[in-house]
Symmetry: C2
Subunit: 341 residues, 2 copies
């Protein structure tokens, strides 16, 4: 039975929300075992008030908490028994198979970096995120593309980008059951010479490989089309682009207000924007997609949004469970060994 | 009377389109004089077929053409009398006050770099572009933000970014009649430490100045809101982000198709997307905004889209005319002297 360690304290909305997500999952058929890591005195009474399956939920005491405002390295040094550190340690020691946290991204990554090893060939890890696409792919007609990195490695070298392509390919093969995922680099044009030197060099190296299905460069607007199954980028561009894609409903709403004020034609069309945007917000609602995998360590960590609801936590736990069941980390290790960057 | 040199040959849709745009403008009250630069044998008969004011349109022969596919430096070396080079030379020599071209961006920039000087303090030039916003600003309630750089300087240093902020500020003061434009850096979060080192350093330097109204960092979704009047960024990120903003209607259409297939709630909302998108495409239609200024040279160049229609060419000529009338380049020079980067 897979076991997931949940950092029960690391969430903007408080431990009520992480516990509620865990409790809901525990009642589902085939759910994993969950180690709920945090302050026992806080968690125990809250959990008692929630309907849950006690055979699947186990409290593990961790007396300290790292907040969203804490500086990651200072906080981890000052709070060695913080919930995220204790949870990572449970995964390192084999008591759990994966870590889920909605806490401070820097602290989660650093806790992983201290407890885990990087896989051979990985210089920098990548945070991946999925985005809905028109096109479907793989055995289960998955409508999502994976974008990586979306914020861990702001300035990725050509080496990093090639490694991200391989890790993303292994992720898509396991999680989306897509045996030959199509890989693309995010750039400012489709031509091989487009972009700064690291992108151009990564393009050259990816195009020269025959162990990857490399499409070439794509642009931001190609992502929701689903041209590529895995979109490879540095963390700075990836983070900016992902937030724009997630915020597309807001962009459209602003444009609508601009256009009405300008008395542009198609006013009737703009009147329809408000109800359409409600639908659009649902489509781009990250809560339904679960958390974002941190790829490159020898153990799996799923990072949930800091503002996660109980539903988002439950979905992040499910992604972690799937990653364990499909032996995602072993798949990445194998890909990196078989096809070194 | 201001005079604009138009590269009449550099346009995907052919010289018919550049001439039609010029001819339409010549019939408007207060229009500038236009030097139409290109192959006389091609241009003269085409112009004869268009209704125009002959006192304002003058053909200048240039026998060679640089195509969109040409490599800029090789093409300029092989074709010294290409229309874009001859047009830039007319501006350098004072026969015209500004250059407008819809040609190969690399060749236009290189032709400018050869004919013009960079202003003191400018290490790299910036291509600016405007985007519609909900918020209005300045004496004429301008609904546009200026984003720069959007593609010339892919990897901008902190020095470059500070220079872009000053040039953008001068542009907004003259073109949008906005005496104290609000400047922001595009990054992946509002906090001062967000982004790669060049952004963090530029943030520190801009925040320390008292001659600019610096708001701090903004994200991509803040652009259509209009939080900032001038959004400063490196050319790689700026180009990717601008294309995503211009292509927002396509993104929404793709998401709509995803959502209908997924049978998400709010299906009725999605049915409204198609008519709403027609309106959105009009709002994000770059043709109505004219061309993009290349800032940093001692003469003005307006780069129109390669796919420009006659209307887009006419609007680019109008932006150039306004830049000349408002002494934009002198304003930028003065700003850089008064407030060195």
């Amino acid at each position: 039975m897979p076991t997931i360690a949940l950092d029960a304290m690391g969430c903007d909305r408080g431990p009520e929300v992480t516990l509620e997500g865990a409790a809901a999952l525990s009642r589902e058929e085939g759910a994993p075992e969950l180690l709920l890591v945090g302050d026992d005195a806080v968690l125990r009474p809250k959990l008692a008030g929630l309907e849950h399956d006690p055979r699947r939920l186990h409290l593990v005491h961790a007396p300290q908490v790292i907040t969203m405002e804490d500086s990651p390295s200072a906080a981890l040094a000052a709070k060695p028994r913080a919930s995220v550190a204790v949870a990572a340690e449970l995964v390192r020691s084999g008591e759990a198979d994966a870590l889920v946290s909605a806490g401070n991204t820097g602290a989660v990554t650093l806790a992983c970096a201290r407890a885990f090893e990087r896989l051979p060939g990985v210089r920098r890890c990548a945070l991946g995120s999925v985005y809905p696409t028109e096109r479907r792919r793989g055995a289960k007609a998955d409508p999502f593309s994976l974008i990586l990195d979306v914020g861990l490695t702001l300035e990725a070298t050509a080496d990093d980008l090639v490694t991200f392509a391989l890790m993303g390919s292994a992720y898509a093969a396991r999680i989306s059951r897509n045996p030959s995922p199509r890989i693309a680099l995010l750039s400012n044009g489709s031509e091989a010479h487009k972009g700064p030197p690291a992108i151009v060099e990564a393009h050259r190296r990816l195009a020269a490989r025959d162990d990857l299905d490399f499409l070439g460069n794509v642009e931001g607007v190609d992502i929701p089309r689903g041209t590529a199954d895995v979109v490879v980028t540095g963390g700075f561009l990836g983070n900016v682009v992902l937030k724009m894609l997630e915020g597309v409903a807001e962009t459209v709403t602003r444009l609508g207000k601009y256009a009405v004020e300008e008395k542009l034609r198609y006013k009737a069309g703009f009147a329809l924007l408000a109800p359409a945007m409600k639908a659009l917000r649902q489509a781009t609602d990250w809560e339904q997609y679960g958390g974002a995998p941190i790829l490159g360590f020898d153990h799996l960590c799923i990072k949930a949004h800091g503002r996660s609801s109980a539903r988002a936590i439950r979905n992040a736990l499910k992604v972690a469970h799937k990653g364990v069941r499909t032996e995602l980390v072993a798949g990445i290790r194998e890909t990196l060994e078989r096809c070194p960057p």
